[in-house]
Amino acid sequence: MMQDIAMYILDLANNSLYANARNINICLIVDRQVDRLQLSISDDGQGMEDFIVEQATDPFYTTRKTRKIGLGLAFFKALADQCDGEFTLKSKKGVGTTVMIDIRNSHIDTPPIGDLSSTLITLIQADDLVDYRFTYRYDHQEFEFDTRKIKSMLDDVKINELNILLWIKEFLSERINELQEGKR
């Protein structure tokens, strides 16, 4: 299992990257009043056939060549089962995939949020042609980050130039901390 939510996000968005997605939407909602944590990752990648959707959370299903088990979705589903929650996987061949969980925020097994800005720059670094929209709602405040907006300011400089990535990381850390501390 993963130590924090940010690691799940990285792992699931990597599935989207392997499915050749060009647009990945990550939405994290923490609402302490209703005591829920919702996370969804959706992509416009190659999707899965219906019969594969059924098997995809089985650790013994993978399209990897290096080993016979695929753990990502099995871990994510186990997290939902453990934390009073629900797991949903929707996918359509040729259209895309959405995976989400809705769990109890205060559950003892609900992991901490973790380092979201590291996760995001790791994803951006992997492929500059993929775009991300990250929406984070914490109680009633919301923060949205879109790589398209950043790219529109960069002219022909790539978004995954290392010093640009480091700037984005700091930018995100500041906004995310502010959001979580409820100062907005």
Binding site: M2, T66, G70, Q125, A126, N163, I164
Partner: protein
């Protein structure tokens, strides 16, 4: 607070740096980023490499890959030199990653103690 205006300045600085770059990089660094790698701590390793490479301006590119096939030895970092020679480093953490960057990428010395050959022995 970081402002988007600052990003424009950084863009212009970066443009100039890119113009000054000469030819191919000396090294290509690859970090394993499948579930096995992520669970073992590959993300902080990659972030440490990015920070160190940016600060010291080493001649290297950094890339990510899926499962390399040695899941129990993750986090894995592979270093390829210009001639295609590969060094595989295993069980890496951010501190070891910085050491590899300074020694191997910076000075050309392979850090034997972290290579797959030394660890497996």
């Amino acid at each position: 607070m970081k402002s988007l205006a600052e990003l424009e300045k950084l863009r212009d600085i970066t443009k100039k740096k890119i113009e000054l770059r000469d030819g191919d990089c000396d090294y290509r660094i690859v970090v394993g980023m499948a579930t096995c790698g992520i669970a073992a701590g590959a993300r902080p390793v990659l972030n440490a490499l990015i920070a160190e490479a940016t600060e010291a301006e080493y001649s290297c590119t950094i890339a990510q890959t899926g499962c390399i096939g040695m899941c129990t030895l993750e986090p894995l970092v592979e270093v390829f030199d210009k001639n295609g020679n590969k060094t595989t480093y295993v069980l890496i953490n951010p501190e070891k990653a910085v050491e590899i960057m300074r020694e191997h990428i910076g000075k050309g010395n392979i850090v034997e103690k972290y290579t797959v050959g030394s660890v497996k022995r």
